[in-house]
Amino acid sequence: MSTGFLQSVRTLFALKPKQKLTAQYLLSLFAAVALAFLVGAGIMLLCGYDPITCYAALFKGALGKPRALGNTLAKTVTLCLTGLAMSLAAKAGIFNVGGEGQLYLGGLAAAVVGARMNGSPAWLIVACSLLAAMAAGGAYAWIPGALKVKLKVNEVVTTILLNSAAIYFCSYMANGPLKTAERGIESGTDSIASYAAFTPLIRLSNLTTGVFYAAVITLLVWYLMTRSTVGFEMKITGTNERFARYGGIRADRLALWGMTLSGMICGVVGLLEVFGLHHRFMTTISSEFYFDGMLVAMIMRYQPFGVILMSFFFAILNIGGSAMELSAGISSEVMLIVQSVIIFFMAAEGGISEKLRAGAAARRIRRDARRAGKGAAV
């Protein structure tokens, strides 16, 4: 819970779910990205590196080879699903900051089911693991959701706190009661049935058949948020909760369901990590993946389509950053700075452009009034 967490919470209060993606906002976003790259270039120059070489290495490292592209796409999937999980809840007017814990629990549940069912047909294992992961993540998100809806307990606080509880619980299980008997494994559960694991789509890359599950979920979430009656009600609730209640929409139920679905998606992300990459539950299955996803969601104002695109961009920065470190020699932390600068500008965007607009309006009013006053005096 370090930088990612802090950034998330700060940004949370700056980027409101009410705002829409307007042309003007996208323009600001573009400007912020350009500025951030310039800042990054400045730092590279200061450190004695050639920015052009570095940036070339970045994009080549993220997209240049099939394997790199596969890794970038795999990262996109994670960011996209976590981002959508955040968006879904936020659109219904409730903030899920606890996705990290839900992800861990989902991963653990999937790993346990995947290992215990060894011998069953692969499709059955995957189906049961999916159910288990969704149940674990969803149930864990339901707790703060219900607390919020029934008792008005602030969900930001509870979800943050529940993160630690889940992560330590999973860590204990992986090191204690559920620790595998296999040799050479420091901490982790039994490995899942090997024939049920997702197979890589591109050799040696992290991109596996799991991407299809992710695609289905993405499509479903996109449909739910933008094309369904529930999505309509979510939009009304998210933009004016009081109006929604007044209009007879069950805002409470929407928020609770938004939260639970969000947790279910996080659980599936955990499953994807287990079935795609590690083939068992380990405490390293996530390193603040959910917080990265949250940032993407907030920057794109919780619009599903925007989240998908932005995930890809952030994945390039993430995967390309490591490659750049290897080939150009500059630390990949530079890319963290670039990301932070983008977030910084986007968090300030609302305030800056509002201030500009308000200033212009005030000037106009004063000018008009002065003119009217003069006219009357003459």
């Binding site: 009410k18 829409k20 094309r227 369904s228 009656t229 529930v230 999505g231 309509f232 009600e233 939009k235 009304i236 933009t239 004016n240 009081r242 109006f243 929604a244 209640r245 007044y246 209009g247 007879g248 929409i249 069950r250 309006a361 009013i365 004063r366 008009d368 009034a369 002065r370 006053g373």
Partner: protein, 508 residues
């Protein structure tokens, strides 16, 4: 300075907020040593004028002089205080965990050796201050444990401690009990008589004006209508000035109201957002084909009353009955399902979602009908669009496009959007609050016709309004509400405007 020299002078003050002219060419002189009352309905511009004096906002046009000196172009509360102006707001700005003395000293604490906070000295100073102005208070009490009246006294002392000799009190009695009000008045009289203070009182309670003030200024819609010597006027005259407006419209009523009771409220009580009693045992009945008009100066419990009926606010006592069924514990969705529609007074907070489109706002409440939702799952956007177009043309909603956010429409068109949606349910019961506030004359006429159509078709309508003309024109029955209680019930036509103004301000 001579006896009647102006201590504060407003010269041709105009204050433009986006869309509202809050002050319109106000010229006003406050004399030294007087109690000046500024009266008017909510939104008349009286608080705005005083905020300008205290430097919370800058006037768009005009100038302000305090004790003969014009205010600086960068006038702000600090500068206002330095010129001797203090203001006590409706909502106190105190630190609850601090003592009385600490609150009064806050921001200008005495120091020991230029470094340490000198608790003893500030206690002594405050004790001395209390004695000088005759306001007994224990400097070491914790403010959060004091009654509201005493907290207000701390606020007044805070202003006096900073050297204020012009004291602005914004609705000072709104939160006080009658006894506390009485004490406050004694305090005001004392500081004015003995210490040459000038007090400006913002209020809409005319009884207080008559008892306390030397002169009174009446504001309506940003304009200062008149300044009168209190001794030469009376409550009725002031009430007429405050709310009066000529009737322009023709009679629309057809037939007599029915006799079947539809909506009845029995000894209802509820709290406001601050947790103070706002509705205190209100009973009223609406029959079919009848409009019951609730008249009262705003902020006397009308908002809470309608919110209670619609299930948006928990009630602390009493019952609401609809067609013989108790609906006190139901939520807005259930109450709507029983055939009640509601036009709330607060368009953007309750009646609309500003960021959602016009069509979406028109559709809310019907989104789950099969026409707009296939299997309660798929939002049928095309049907929604056509439906929106139909309603918009029926109610003459003018917009740049129905896919634009409703917040981009003018006030009148926003109001028509709400009206179109609520009337489209064909509910037999309507609760309508402030249907024409901030709406231009043409739209008012249209809205009145639509409401009357519903009444003539047999709907039971509860109409809450601050506009007396509207109430006289539309209502069959009039009830007056003051401080959360019904003060009078009259069949329309058996009471005149002046008399009703008297009931509205707690006259009887």
């Amino acid at each position: 300075m001579s006896e009647n020299a102006p201590i504060v002078r407003f010269e041709h003050i105009s204050m433009q907020f986006p869309g509202v002219l809050a002050n319109d060419n106000v010229t006003l002189e406050i004399r030294k040593g007087e109690v000046f009352a500024l009266v008017g309905e909510n939104g008349a511009g009286k608080s705005t004028l005083m905020n300008l004096l205290y430097g919370l906002q800058k006037p768009t046009l005009g100038r302000i002089e305090i004790k003969g000196k014009p205010t600086s172009p960068h006038h702000d509360p600090t500068r206002a205080m330095a010129m001797g102006v203090g203001m006590v707001h409706q909502h106190f700005k105190l630190v609850p965990g601090f003592t009385v003395a600490q609150n009064i000293a806050l921001g200008m604490e005495p120091k020991k050796h230029k470094l340490f906070y000198d608790q003893k000295r500030i206690n002594a100073e405050v004790t001395e201050l209390c004695e000088r102005f005759g306001l007994p208070l224990n400097p070491q009490d914790t403010v959060g444990e004091l009654s509201v009246g005493l907290q207000q006294r701390v606020e007044i002392l805070k202003a006096l401690h900073r050297g204020a000799d012009v004291l602005v009190l914004d609705e000072p009695t709104a939160v006080l009990t009658p006894q506390e009000t009485e004490e406050l008045f004694q305090v005001i009289r004392r500081i004015v008589a003995e210490k040459e203070m000038t007090v400006i009182l913002i209020t809409h309670k005319l009884g207080e004006v008559m008892r306390l003030s030397d002169r009174v200024g009446v504001m309506r819609r940003g304009k200062l209508l008149d300044v009168l010597n209190t001794s030469e006027t009376d409550e009725r005259k002031l009430a007429a000035l405050m709310v009066g407006r000529e009737v322009l419209f023709s009679e629309l009523r057809e037939g007599a109201p029915g006799t079947r009771e539809v909506l009845s409220v029995d000894r209802l009580s509820a709290l406001d957002d601050r947790g103070l009693p706002a509705v205190k045992g209100i009973s009223l009945t609406v029959h079919e084909g009848e409009i019951v008009g609730v008249c009262g100066v705003e902020g006397n419990g009308q908002t809470e009353l309608t919110e209670c009926i619609m299930g948006m606010r928990p009630q602390t006592g009493g019952t609401v009955t609809l067609n013989g069924r108790n609906i006190s514990r139901l939520d807005p969705r259930q109450i709507r399902a029983m055939g009640v529609s509601w036009i709330p007074e607060d368009r953007l907070r309750t009646g609309l979602s500003a960021q959602a489109t016009v069509t979406e706002n028109l559709l809310v409440g019907k989104q789950r009908l099969p026409e707009f939702s296939r299997f309660s799952l798929h939002y049928r956007k095309g049907n929604a669009r056509r439906y929106g177009e139909k309603l918009a043309s029926e109610f003459d909603i003018r917009s740049g496009g129905l896919e634009l956010p409703v917040g981009s429409l003018s006030g009148g068109n926003m109001q028509k959007t709400i009206l179109a949606r609520e009337f489209s349910f064909d509910s037999p019961v309507l609760v309508i609050s402030q249907p024409t506030r901030g709406v231009d004359i043409g739209a008012i006429e249209f809205i009145h016709e639509k409401i009357m159509e519903k009444r003539n078709a047999g709907c039971a309508i509860l109409l809450v309004s601050a506009d007396l003309d509207e109430l006289f024109r539309l209502s069959d029955q009039l009830v007056t509400i003051y401080e959360g209680q019904i003060t009078g019930r009259f069949p329309n036509g058996e009471i005149d405007r002046e008399e009703i103004g008297y009931y509205m301000t707690g006259g009887r």
